[in-house]
């Protein structure tokens, strides 16, 4: 998991996180099993939260049943996990109602999240595919990545949003990648995992911006949740908030078709979610702005929709047949067996004896083998054993047909590796029922295998995300230089290495001259430009092995490992000249200059702080001496004498 890396972002202290009761719930439920009593007690300590949980438990999905009046009953009805998740979601809402990002509309963010939540809940109630309370929670948190980015980097995110509003701008996702090297979807997924919300939630928020389906879902629950939340987002935007989405009606029709919902469903959903949205807005004190319903878009969508009417009773997904190898030395029985299996939708291969069956099984890899027991040469038992010894045959489901007289030998059959047996002459209905039971086992087994593969891939993806998060936590967003945290960590280890090995170590502190006046006169955009340009010049001018970092503001630090004071002073002079020569044009050409202070461990600094302090003093000297110059630490007295 990426908790450790997410920790880097958490360290900023700006990441949205559950507070108060939410935090208590999170702590209580760190482990896999937690008692219902503990959760309900914590929730009951917060009357507002209690009310909201009861509201969810009493919502439309449970119409007609007895009203729920206690958190305990709610937990019985919804399941303790759902109650935990929804409680966590609500505490996030109450703890993050405002923030410092100027371009980010916090109220609208929560109104939008709420619209997605009620829409997702409504869809879940219609489809019966995921618990409605879970759909609500997942919808509510589906955009939490944007909230997080706005909270960690308020100014940068505001600027980015501004850029995104310009005509022809890239999508939010692309802009986020450019600016932060990660997008709100992956960040949201990482946060949800960190809060121990189900994997299906994380998958759904990670894929919410996708146009295409969810074929790579790790499991069925994730696929269903992703479908619902993705559809809910679009439905909420178009039907509740009246947002101007691209290809709104076609997209709407596409999503409804994907969910196999009809026009009546859409209409009902629009009505009920509208009421729910207003009601929840009142409960949570989030101003919701119901826009005039864009009837033409919905009507247009209805025309595109494949399912014309209400589909309250939904057929279960069409059962796909199995690839079955049928084996019998009696041609009549084999033909009849083939007939029964084929008519039940399976794809049947035939083998007239055990030897043929073994070859065919290994060649064409059927999912199931239905074989007679008594056969010449290789009998059913031998076939079982041989298949179980082979790599391909190990996972096949083997159903043995036994004569009445063999029934007391079935233990032998199971020992040989058979999964199931049917006594001959068989009742076709019973045989087919056993085959279907086997099919459930096979599909379960295949799903587990698929899950494992996807999980492996997720682990790999997570490793990449971890590296990105780690890099993001160590990188200055504006200049892409390593940031102060990186500088201090590196310096700590360099200083202790240098002190142990008695090798030299120097630093150059750099401060841009008159930077404040650039900002004041030309604005922050120009200030940013100067910072970026200067950073580039510094990056290109240092020796290989030296680290240039931005400490903050207009301050940079170069760590010159294994460099003496004199060598570092030469580096500093080279940097000074390079910055002076580089002309930054904004409106008119401007020569930016820097003042530099050089300090070395050899000058008597005993630790990082002293080293930085010495360098700072020399920057001050350089400024006092007229700027655009390098000052070095005075050598210690004994060195000065000998020099």
């Amino acid at each position: 998991m990426n908790e450790n890396r997410l920790d880097e972002l958490k360290l900023t202290g700006q990441l949205p996180s559950p507070t108060g009761v939410g935090l208590a719930i999170l702590e209580l439920t760190r482990g896999e099993d937690y008692a219902m009593g503990d959760i309900t007690r914590v929730i009951q300590s917060d009357p507002a939260l209690t009310g909201r949980i009861l509201k969810i438990a009493n919502s439309a999905g449970f119409a007609g049943s007895q009203p729920v009046t206690t958190v305990g009953q709610a937990a019985m009805r919804l399941g303790v996990r759902s109650v935990r998740n929804v409680a966590l979601g609500f505490t996030l809402v109450s703890g993050n109602r405002s923030g410092t990002c100027p371009g980010f509309d916090y109220e609208r963010y929560w109104a939008d999240s709420l619209a997605i939540a009620v829409m997702a809940q409504g869809l879940a109630e219609l489809l019966h595919s995921v618990p409605p309370a879970d759909a609500f929670t997942c919808g509510l948190l589906s955009g939490v990545g944007t909230l997080a980015l706005a909270s960690i980097h308020p100014d940068r995110y505001a600027q980015m949003l501004e850029r995104g509003r310009r005509p022809g701008a890239d999508t939010l996702m692309i802009l986020e990648h450019e600016t932060f090297d990660l997008d709100h979807c992956e960040l949201a997924a990482a946060m949800l995992r960190d809060w121990r919300l189900p994997e299906s939630f994380a998958f759904a928020v990670a894929t919410i911006e996708r146009r295409e389906g969810c074929i790579d879902a790790p499991d069925e629950a994730s696929r269903r949740m992703a479908l619902i939340v993705r559809a809910a987002r679009h439905l909420a935007h178009v039907c509740l908030e009246g947002l101007d989405e691209v290809h709104a009606s076609e997209r709407l029709a596409e999503l409804m078709n994907e969910l196999e919902l009809g026009r009546d469903d859409l209409e009902r959903l629009r009505q009920s979610s509208r009421e729910q949205w207003i009601e929840w807005g009142r409960t949570l004190q989030i101003p919701v702005d119901v826009k005039v319903q864009p009837h033409e878009i919905v009507a247009e969508a209805a025309r595109h929709m494949a399912v014309p009417t209400d589909t309250t009773v939904r057929a279960t997904a069409e059962r796909k047949g199995l690839r079955i190898l049928a084996v019998d030395d009696d041609p009549v029985s084999l033909r009849l067996l083939e007939h029964h299996l084929t008519r039940d939708g399976h794809q049947v291969m035939r083998a007239a004896n055990g030897r043929q069956a073994l070859i065919l099984a290994l060649e064409s890899n059927p999912q199931m083998v239905v074989t007679d027991w008594m056969m010449p040469e290789v009998d059913g038992l031998e076939l079982c054993k041989s298949l179980r010894r082979s790599n391909e045959g190990r996972g096949m489901y083997i159903l043995l047909l036994t004569g009445r007289e063999d029934e007391n030998r079935v233990v032998e059959a199971f020992d040989a590796g058979a999964d199931e047996y049917v006594v001959k002459p068989f009742n076709p209905k019973i045989l087919l029922a056993r085959v279907r039971a086997g099919q459930r086992m096979i599909e379960l087994r295949e799903q587990v295998e698929k899950d494992r593969q996807i999980r492996d891939r997720q682990v790999a993806e997570m490793a990449v995300l971890n590296r990105k998060l780690e890099a993001a936590a160590m990188t200055d967003v504006l200049t892409k230089l390593p940031n102060r945290r990186f500088a201090m960590r590196t310096l700590e280890s360099e200083v202790s290495a240098a002190l142990t090995s008695s090798s030299p170590l120097s630093v150059v502190m750099i401060d841009i001259d008159h930077f404040k006046s650039v900002n004041d006169t030309h604005g922050h955009d120009m200030g940013d430009l100067v910072l970026r340009e200067t950073a580039n010049v510094l990056r290109n001018a240092v020796r290989k092995g030296d680290f240039v970092c931005r400490l903050g503001g207009e301050e940079f630090l170069v760590i010159c490992a294994k460099a003496s004071l004199a060598q570092a002073a030469m580096t500093a002079e080279r940097l000074r000249a390079a910055v002076e020569e580089h002309v930054i044009g904004f409106g008119y050409d401007k020569h930016v200059t820097v003042s530099l202070g050089v300090a070395s461990l050899a000058c008597g600094a005993r630790n990082v702080d002293e080293l930085i302090k010495f360098a700072d003093r020399r920057v001050y000297d350089a400024k006092a001496g007229g700027r655009n110059r390098v000052c070095s630490t005075d050598p210690p007295p004994n060195l000065a004498k000998s020099a």
Partner: protein, 121 residues
């Protein structure tokens, strides 16, 4: 369902069931199954006699076992019962009694064949 001595050569109920089984999708199934049985059983009668000649009781038991179920599938219940008896005798290596039963089965097969050929028309 298993009368001790089946009256007719071919059980009409089994034949009706076979015809029904193919239904509209596979109307030829019934004829195909009869054809499969007649071809296979003819060869198996030969094999039964050979096994008798060799005194191979194990083989006798196995062939009789297969014939027992395939003949039951086409409604040749009397024939099937004979095969069951041969299977039992084979199992306890009673060649003395098996010989006459194999010949009775061969005669019975000819009757079954005639009856099934009549059904095909």
């Amino acid at each position: 369902m298993h009368p001790s001595e089946p009256e007719s050569v071919i059980d009409a109920g089994v034949i009706a069931g076979l015809k029904e089984l193919g239904g509209d999708e596979d109307p030829g199934l019934y004829l195909e199954v009869i054809e499969l049985f007649l071809d296979d059983a003819a060869q198996q009668i030969v094999n039964l006699r050979e096994a008798m000649a060799r005194g191979d009781t194990r083989q006798l038991e196995r062939i009789a076992h297969t014939l027992k179920s395939s003949s039951a599938n086409v409604g040749a219940l009397r024939f099937s019962k004979l095969c069951f008896e041969i299977e039992q005798l084979g199992r306890c290596s009673d060649l003395a009694h098996a010989g006459s039963l194999v010949e009775r089965a061969a005669v019975q097969y000819d009757q079954v064949k005639a009856a099934l050929e009549a059904e095909k028309r």
